[in-house]
Amino acid sequence: MSFAPAAHHVQESAALRALRAEVRAFLREEIASGGFVPAVDCWLNSWDEAFSRRLAARGWLGMTIPVEYGGHGRTFLERFVVTEELLAAGAPLAAHWISDRQIGPSLMKFGSEEQRRKLLPGIATGQVFFAIGMSEPDSGSDLASVRTKAVRTDGGWHLTGSKIWTSGAHRSHWFIVLARSAPLDPEHRHAGLSQFIVALDSPGIDIRPIVSMNGHHHFNQVFFDNVFVPDAMLLGREGDGWKQVTSELSYERSGPERLLSTVAVLSEMASATQRGDLAPDPELGRTFARIMALHQMSVSVADALSSGRPTDQEAAIVKVLGTATEGDVAELASLSVATGQADDGLARLRDMTATALLSRPGFTLRGGTNEILRGVIARGLGLR
């Protein structure tokens, strides 16, 4: 029985540090010229297609997609570094987020040649955006219980059911749907699921907004009524949906978006302290330290993933601690600012704090709740 997750410290090479510097210079210029305003939870909230295309022009979309499919043939770690920098700056990433993080790699792993040729070039140029449909109204953390049905028909499938919490479906072109393509076998709950690539303008699709408590609309519920999906748009193999979905979870869990969603708030707190608008608070240093340690862990998980070492447990740890820390930043800022002060220099911090506070409940829910992930960690420890 092994209990200690292996610490594995890695240091970035000069090439990666140079890439960081390149992205930082670009971001400074963008902010200075009003290209974007740094935002909280920018990968979910900030939809800016023009910015996505400016990134594409730099070669920073579809980085890991091979050149022959319109991508840039760069390494996973190079993409990781660019993503960290973009998130830390609070840049608007929502438009391309899912297609870049999830769909590109999925298509390279499971997609057919036809699907790759059709979709990857647009992902890399920031012209094709995706949403992803996993959860359903009665199927949240327990994904194997999805009920959206795919029924065979002439030349393809008919999809019926609905998907919920689908970020950006109302603005995206395509949708990846996990659906039950064979009846539920209680003995093998994870069998009989398949993934489908669905055009969001297909007849029979109805997209209804779910407005978040901060007034933002990024979530939707998507309804399917006998939506036709041609055979060519089955992703991977029929019945392999569960395996395909879970094979990528470590990437999703340990990514920098699991710890940097509110770093812009912490950065603004530091700036306010520099200006003398906030009193120096040891909690600022404490929270910064935690984020830096999480960054180290996240980098080492990324390195392990890119060399094929298993890191399910470490990835789950990064997500549990990272998402809690993102929330702690919101909390800290909230404890530090008062309202009713016109000229205290904290107007910007107050705005960011409001957004962060109302986004916070989602941090520890999305992509697998922290309770589920603690179970994953416990399993890794041999406790269950």
């Binding site: 209990f3 970035e12 890439l19 770690l77 950065s267 240093g285 910064f288 269950r384």
Partner: protein, 351 residues
């Protein structure tokens, strides 16, 4: 696009401790005696010390051995993991290092601790002072910092113990009686960082033990007809020990790497050590608390060995600066005009 990046090694593997040395350390430290039966007092484990001395492990980082912080950290981690009652940190990366820096005559067979004394030659809570041969004494004088290598026989001791039962004694030294050598202010700064990091590394080792003990206990202990490990509430307590231990280790590894890369920039070392001290200090809150919670009442007894690992963690986090002081130091770094939080913490090559 930066084509030079293609094909370049994406990450530099940080030099790891030699696997054979790591195995030796584990073997040697697993013979640690721990507390005597029925006692809260830790006594210098001289049997373990002589084994370490025979293997050349008591002055691992001296110029003569060529080993560095990567190896020293492996040793300190093992010492922490086994609650070894030996002044390895004090003798090697603190006193030994001071003696070398000051160019004082060195006899590696002498066992040393170190302290910073005030103008009256006094210092409080000096670890192991009553158990060693010499004290490397740092003091600030009119012409800068000086080090003296003082035999314990010449030291007035006021015996004390820290909450882990380790000797931490008050010392008073007649400064006029002892020759001393100059040492740079930078070296004094490095000395403090050595001490701070050593305690963080030892704590990280002890946390690994807490995780292992907790995991083992909850899988063995049966209540309500099942192992404690089968209860979700227990799983979550242990998962949090694992998470905080992993985070503490990540921060410690990063700081050890900065320290091992040489003192090219003490600012970078200080940042990494401050991060490690903050993260380890706060991780201690969760790991110690949860380890006791899952062990139940038996874990609160002198008979059970859990406290041999929890108490040092709590004692160490107050040495070389409190957790709050390290948090505040980081805040002070972030509060310097023009510092951008993210790029300060994650340096790039330029820009």
């Amino acid at each position: 696009m930066d084509d030079a990046a293609h094909g370049a090694p994406p990450m530099i593997e940080v030099p790891r401790i030699d696997a054979q040395l790591e195995q030796t350390l584990e073997q040697v430290f697993s013979t640690a005696a721990g507390l005597g039966e029925g006692s809260t007092d830790l006594h210098f484990d001289r049997v373990l010390w002589s084994t370490l001395a025979e293997l050349g492990l008591t002055r691992l980082t001296s110029a003569a051995t060529g080993a560095g912080w990567i190896e020293a950290a492996g040793l300190l981690r093992a010492a922490g993991r086994h609650a070894a009652a030996v002044p390895v940190a004090e003798n090697d990366v603190l006193a030994g290092w001071l003696i070398e820096q000051a160019g004082l005559p060195d006899d590696p067979s002498l066992i040393r601790t170190s302290c910073v004394v005030d103008a009256f030659g006094a210092a409080a809570d000096v670890p192991w002072a009553s158990a060693v041969d010499r004290v490397a004494v740092l003091r600030e004088s009119a012409d800068g910092w000086r080090v003296a290598d003082v035999p314990v026989a010449d030291v007035a001791l006021t015996r004390g113990r820290d909450l882990a039962g380790r000797p931490t004694d008050g010392v008073r030294i007649d400064l006029a009686k002892h020759a001393s050598a100059k040492i740079s202010a930078e070296s004094v700064r490095a000395y403090d960082l050595h001490g701070a990091l050593a305690r963080a590394v030892q704590s990280a080792g002890a946390m690994e033990r807490l995780l292992a003990m907790s995991g083992q206990y909850v899988t063995e202990r049966v209540q309500f007809g099942r192992a404690l490990a089968k209860f979700q509430a227990i799983q979550h307590l242990v998962a949090d020990i694992a998470s905080e231990t992993a985070l503490a280790n990540a921060a410690v590894e990063a700081a050890v790497f900065e320290m091992a890369s040489g003192h090219g920039s003490l600012d970078r070392v200080e940042l990494a050590v401050a991060i490690a001290r903050s993260v380890v200090g706060h991780a201690a809150s969760v790991t110690v608390r949860n380890a006791h919670q899952v062990h139940g009442a038996i874990g609160t007894t002198l008979e059970h060995r859990l406290h041999e690992y929890t108490k040092p963690i709590l004692a160490w986090r107050g040495e070389f600066g409190s957790v709050r002081e390290w948090d505040a130091r980081l805040t002070a770094m972030l509060s310097r005009p023009g510092v951008d939080l993210w790029s300060f913490g994650v340096p790039a090559d330029r820009g």
